[in-house]
Amino acid sequence: MSQAPAQYKKQDGIISLSDQGARAVLWKPNSGALHAVTIPVTDITNLQQTPVTAPKASIRISAQETHTFTLTSAAARDNQQAITGTLRKWIEASKSVQGGGAPVPTAPPAENGNGQSASMVMAQTASSATATARAEDDSFDDAKLLRDAELQRSLLSSNPALRHRFEQALGDKPDSITINQFNSQFWSTRLHNLRSHAAERAQGAGTYNVLSVVKPQEIDGGVKLNITKEQIQLIFAQHPLVKRVYNENVPPLKESEFWSRFFFSRLLKKLKGMKITDSDNVDPKLDKYLNLDDDPDFARQLDASAVPRFIDVEGNEQNHSQRLGNRADWTMQPNSYDKVPILRTLNRMSEKMMEYVPPSDGDRHGPAGMDEDTYKELQLRDLQRADDDNRVVLKIKDQGQLFAASQGLHTSSSAATYAKRTPAQVLSAVQRNFGGISGSNGGDGLDLQAAIGVVDDDSSSDEESASNKKIRIGSRSSRVAATLQINKAIRKRHLHNDDYLLSQNAASSEQAAQLGLSQSVFDTLTMTHNTTVEFLHYFWTVYFSGDPDRAIEIGKLVETLDKSLDRIKAVADSAEAERTAKVEKLVKDNETYTQRTGRRRKFDANSVTGGAKVVNNIASPLIRAIGSAKEQFEKALREQMGHSIA
């Protein structure tokens, strides 16, 4: 139970959180000057706290009216954190109940906190975000994303890999977990995907240069034109001239005839900015429009609206290269229309497209020119002479002062082994040993050949090994063992390098072949791995949720993990069966070979790769992960059972 001394309306009292019956915030005065205050959690519309840097630790709770409590104890800050923390959870819980069930009972003020998760409420406490910013963020709120089944379906259909995983996991889920639970678990680990998908969907595609997209195809001498209604509308919007030509000609011409003529006309070439040559089709009906301007109104339109600041090249006038004597590039000179019509056309297209884009810098209908903020933003503050230094100075303390940096002998990880000898014994032993090679080397220095003990002649090594009762340093056996270990490590690295190369090409079939597994077994293994990882995710989310309501759920998840182990075993079994079949086939082949030729071929069954061993090897981290999840669960369960009995 959280309770703490707190002032309310300048009266001392105790603030507490009550979980009895309906959850509520209680404040009881120490004296009788004021009435006690009770705020039911369901009524809370906003929760604010003073920032940690403020001198006073206060909590402001908005319900029907706003209450401000100032925490007064020595641990005021901690109390504040504890109370808001708990309240946050309660509010979240009550909101989620409200959100899932009937319409919210509370009156308009509740609108504020209605669909918002607690994290949003807390975000408000830190900075008073503007209403618009909040509304924008709101659509990406965790709880809302989790509830949006339509969004989830849309993401699944746009992402086949995710869909595959979803269906796989759905199929493997234990019956005891409801679809709803499964859904929320699946998506709660993928909120970021949902959020980005929601953001993606919120954006519409802009217009495009439609004339370059529509391409008539000549099939069997005839012309086939695929053009949609939307494309026609877009052509009219982008090229008013076409609209005019269409209006004036289509009653005599047929609709389809008009378009197929248009797409082979000189007019089209002109509108696309291509050069017209003599060999181009002549079309008396359309060619008479060739000299008309596509969009006479357009230039005026653009002048009228404000130029978005980030494409405003007005500023370039200051460093105008032409004034310094350089001629403009020929593509930029006026009246070069006939030389490079495409540049002009493309520029005009871009201008038109930009028209549809809402300006990113400021309100279109606001006053033209720069406001104060923009002006400040454009200033190069860093270069100003008398700028305030607003750096945050980072004071690094000497880390040696933190706790006990030094370690004693007894805290060592090797303490047990080191404890056998006293420092004096250690010192004399090492000095004596080392004295053996450093002191008595006479004038000739150390005889390295003797010192390293490598003697290739095995028979003569007996005499030396008498001095060292144990395995002799540099003996043949130890050298062979070392070689084996290094070779193993090299092979491992080699395989890893190949893995890396393969993953670049995603050629899993080669990987499977290298491991000696068939493609189908390899695929099953991959799938089993994916779903198991999925269930491990669920397990840990629920395990760490700390929610007793999900206690049953977590037991079920442990069962699921057990099943995953079975699934891995099944894959291993089928791989083993495959390998056995392979070995048998090889043995048979060899027998027929022997019968035919009378000679025996050497055959070693160990050289056939694959089988359960390979599968278990690959799955070993997974098995370990399941093991540790289960172990931790069982340990915690035992402890809590013990607590509840006591």
Binding site: M1, D78, Q81, A82, G85, T86, L394, K395, I396, K397, Q399, L402, F403, S406, Q407, L409, S412, S413, S414, Y418, R421, P423, A429, V430, N433, F434, I437, S438, N441, G442, G443, D444, G445, L446, L448, A451, I452, G453, K470, I471, G474, S478, R479, A481, A482, T483, I486, A489, I490, K492, H494, G546, D547, P548, A551, F633, A636, Q640, H643, S644
Partner: protein, 372 residues
């Protein structure tokens, strides 16, 4: 004339591999070596190491070696012998200067002289280091000062690299050295490839997490692989060192075969390694050590300002221990204690409303202790 001579050599040098500097950090922690005395005593390890050094020197005319002892109370040079650290009044022109570090080159006609020089320097310096170690030094620590030794190795490499291919600013210095020693001038402009080999026998290195990590990052920047031969002790930090710098990590199953490990695993220099598949470490333990207790943590808390790592979320005054910024980790504690009571009980509590303990009520549940 000098110039003509120089260009001639320069052209010749181009088709040979660049000289290679091998900096060896030998962990001489007496505790660990005493413990190892039955399988691989220090004397044998040093003898094998000398053979390895000779192999390295023999594989390139211009190859160099540096050996540093990482001892329990200090890091100390074994080779090259530092030029009289204590400014002694006696001139060091004579063959023997002070009594503390006599180079004493043994005259053995059967030994290649550069080998003999390295050998005698290492043996005498190590012997001196061991005799100067006191019991008090050993009693104070179970581990070795690997961080300091690594820094020494890195700074020596940096210095040697400069000497081999000096920057423009140090042109004067090279001109002087050219005058002083005509042999070094030919090496000028030839890049030096360096690597570090740590022969480690101690555990408990998490203690020096910060300096070692800094050295690792420095080596990473300078493309100096750090090879590890781990004869004993826990592996946490050094495995990261070799992984981050692209070095070789070996933990011998049979330390008696040390020479084989050295020769097969560590002899190729950086140039040669481009053509080889080097042994792999397999799984690497990437865990970090907390700044507050220097213990290795599975889950830690990181200061958003200075990136210090802490093992527990309760910090005094909610401020970062290193930089003093405000750092409240209460909300970062996502893994709340897992509560697994039977559902029935929960129902009872809600219905009766008598049980006062709320699961989320107290800020940190005391029910389940959680260990990573």
């Amino acid at each position: 004339m000098n110039a003509i001579d120089g260009t001639d050599r320069h052209v010749k040098a181009d088709d040979t591999p660049p000289p290679s500097l091998l900096a060896i950090v030998l962990d001489t922690n007496p505790h660990a070596w005493a413990h190892l005395s039955n399988t691989l005593p220090l004397s044998s390890a040093v003898a094998n190491l000398l053979v390895f050094i000779n192999a390295h020197l023999a594989s390139g005319n211009a190859n160099e070696v540096a050996v540093i002892a990482s001892h329990s109370h200090k890091a100390s040079w074994l080779y090259p012998t530092p030029k009289s650290a204590t400014p002694s009044s006696s001139s060091h022109n004579g063959t023997s200067n002070s009594s503390t570090n006599p180079p004493a080159p043994p005259e053995n006609p059967n030994k290649y002289r550069p080998f003999a020089l390295v050998e005698s320097a290492i043996l005498s310096n190590l012997s001196h280091l061991l005799t100067s170690t006191t019991e008090a030094h050993l009693a104070s620590t179970p581990t070795t000062l690997i961080g300091g030794a690594l820094s020494l190795a890195l700074s020596y490499i940096a210095k040697s690299t400069l000497l081999h291919s000096p920057l423009d600013t140090s042109l004067e210095a090279t001109a002087l050295s050219a005058l002083a020693d005509s042999e070094t001038t030919h090496a000028v402009r030839i890049p030096l490839t360096s690597r570090i080999l740590i022969i480690s026998v101690s555990g408990d290195l998490a203690n020096q997490y910060i300096p070692v990590m800094n050295s690792i990052f420095a080596a990473q920047r300078k493309r100096i692989p750090i090879d590890i031969l781990k004869l004993a002790g826990d592996t946490v930090l050094l495995q990261q060192a070799s992984d981050a710098t692209g070095g070789v990590y070996m933990k011998p199953e049979r330390p008696e075969g040390i020479l084989q490990y050295l020769m097969m695993g560590f002899l190729p220099d950086v140039t040669a390694r481009r053509s080889f598949v080097m042994p792999s470490a397999g799984g690497v333990d990437f865990r970090a050590a907390c700044f507050c207790h220097r213990k290795v943590v599975d889950v830690g808390y990181v200061c958003s300002v200075c990136l210090s790592i802490f093992c527990e979320p309760t910090l005094p005054d909610n401020t970062c221990l290193t930089c003093g910024s405000y750092l409240s980790l209460r909300t970062a504690q996502t893994p709340q204690p897992a509560l697994l009571p039977r559902k029935k009980k929960k129902k009872k509590r809600v219905a009766g409303g008598t049980d006062s303990t709320t699961p989320g009520g107290t800020p940190v549940g005391s029910g389940t202790p959680m260990h990573g």
